[in-house]
Subunit: 417 residues, 2 copies
Amino acid sequence: MNDFAFYSPTEFHFGRTATDDMGSALSAAGFKRSLVVYGQGSVKRSGVLDQVKGSLTGAGIDLVELGGVRPNPDVSFVREGIGLVRERELDSVVAVGGGSVIDAAKAIAFGVYYEGDVWDIFAKGLPITRALPIATLVTIPAAGSEASASCVISNDEEGRKVGVGGDAFRPRFAFMNPEHTFSLPPYQTAAGVTDMFAHICERYFSGLGTVTVTDGIATSLMRTLIEHGPRVIEDPEDYEARANIMWVGMLAHNDIAGCGRGLKPGGRAGGWESHGLEHEVSAHFVEVTHGAGLAVIMPNWMRYVWPADPDRFLSYARDVFGIEPIDDTPDAIRDAIEIAIDETQEFFMSLGMPSSLSEFGIGEGDIETLIGTLEKTKGARFGAFRPLDMDDSREIYRMSLMPHEPNVWETEEEHEA
Amino acid sequence: MNDFAFYSPTEFHFGRTATDDMGSALSAAGFKRSLVVYGQGSVKRSGVLDQVKGSLTGAGIDLVELGGVRPNPDVSFVREGIGLVRERELDSVVAVGGGSVIDAAKAIAFGVYYEGDVWDIFAKGLPITRALPIATLVTIPAAGSEASASCVISNDEEGRKVGVGGDAFRPRFAFMNPEHTFSLPPYQTAAGVTDMFAHICERYFSGLGTVTVTDGIATSLMRTLIEHGPRVIEDPEDYEARANIMWVGMLAHNDIAGCGRGLKPGGRAGGWESHGLEHEVSAHFVEVTHGAGLAVIMPNWMRYVWPADPDRFLSYARDVFGIEPIDDTPDAIRDAIEIAIDETQEFFMSLGMPSSLSEFGIGEGDIETLIGTLEKTKGARFGAFRPLDMDDSREIYRMSLMPHEPNVWETEEEHEA
């Protein structure tokens, strides 16, 4: 187990009455004049935004609204928010929505303390030590941004999507009512579950050996998604399943699933290879939902890298899917690992996720575009489990163009043979 | 899943260099004049106290020392600490030690804000909304007090031991170096592991049904203890095992293992029956280490209450010990559950824990003494999984007087039959 720091100071209010708690909790914490950030109107239509505003103004908090965050939020929105906070002298930011809304709110919250253009912080990786207090009302469980130290913003002009990290902008509060996710369309639900699963995997496959306590948490979270993901697709108003998924989404990304798995002492767990590869896809093809991109990229990344540490993938096969190799020959080991990777991809597909980038009209001819900005963002070599250079990345993108054909086993015996 | 709040704002520095971080972290957080609380001298002998003092004074923090906390700390020590903080106008408390030291530090930290006698807070269950900031350097992993909302203090005059709860006194910082636990004697190590296991069980057996995400975390933590507990008894300097146990100790009691398992919406998970029964034992017989008392009480509590919810105990048998009933007859179900409970007790015994209260010279004649103060502290009926009245409690104490004889199976077939 490597040395680590862990700090997740967010105060969670989880359940059916969570939204009602907002006003009194934020007022007690000193929120007086808040910027309320939201997305493209679904929280207006559902009435959730009115509920939030009612709770906050009822507690005497003044509000300035800024709607319109789109998926993969552009830095221009962040600039607008920073301008509003400065002009109206606001003291806090309240995000109502999913990861894109929360990330936009975070960038506003720390961007106000930077005198230059906020994109510098992303482009130059400037350290972030200060942010306005942030509260979130989560309506799309996926990114885990409600408790994470991550913030990802796009820059359309440059065709880039860049993430930064820092404890200073972890939200002070997260309010989470699973009922608010009942109306989430199946595709977005599935993309969210995939993103959570990927957040756990990126840490699990950090290139370190076993860390029993953390691995046990990680694999239990993955099994929870495998159990409850199909339930919400089947019945979108299954409260228990929605609640389990919502809470896993937070745990998948507040770093509890990575403690002790940082490659450097004190470092963040994981090489974030699949996220790195996917970010280029959704930066260039904004219609690709991040989770849907991951559903394609991550299994192919796994197929490409597993030979670097078969033991780790055997643990994954056993602890997540209950798959054991039939003996200890290289063939049996390879089979067990490949079945586990197929199971991973087929889990995503069972939720309605794509299995190839070609479903988005992406083809061979686009790969060099992706590689161009990937190298700019990640450098010539990146990752931890097995460092990837641009040729490796090309190959993973290429594999990701091919649809996956699920194996159909005739009988159980055949499967086991 | 019931509604819940979760707030664990402690900043953890975990690993071989954790102690060195103390001065700069506390200084940055505004600690200027700290009361340093410690126990009966082992941190002096080991040099850990000097290391802490060096780091703090090196960062310009003034220190006032108060040593001498004993196991099951008495309220008189807390009063002394409160007096010192007031007299010397200190702004923070630093605890160097285990749960008793940290609990004493907590009581001092919130006691300074109460004008009357600090015992009132315990005796009357007064709400606690404010405390001085607390930092801990953990040398005995067991109580999980480094991140918990609990504080247990004894009152020798009254022969009582009472716990209070509150987010206000969760420590601001916890510094955890597994190497500091290498010199912990086997008995204390084992008592710590038992206490952790019990913290998880109290939440797991809260009387609610399944909460997949939380139950998955809980059982993975229990399995981690079962794997690494014997390793540290075998080799006290096994860093990985010490590290796993230390981190589980925190997770077992910061409430992450109870989210959604509170019986009332927003309530704390678990009925804390075994802790309630044990606290009377170590209050009257101060030579009984809390964990050793639990090693006896908890398995007997399990034997007494499991019929109230066999399904829950079947999940426990399966997910913690891999035990399945051979069929779904009542006999097979009972057998599986009883084997799992025996395995629990034999796990504690394998670490060197006692199996009966008679090993401490406690006999039938002492039961009414325990019942007398139990009723005063807990009321005539307490608990959640299956509420216990004083007759139930008498019976569990009585069962706890008898040593457990581990089953010896002649052959594997016989075991399965």
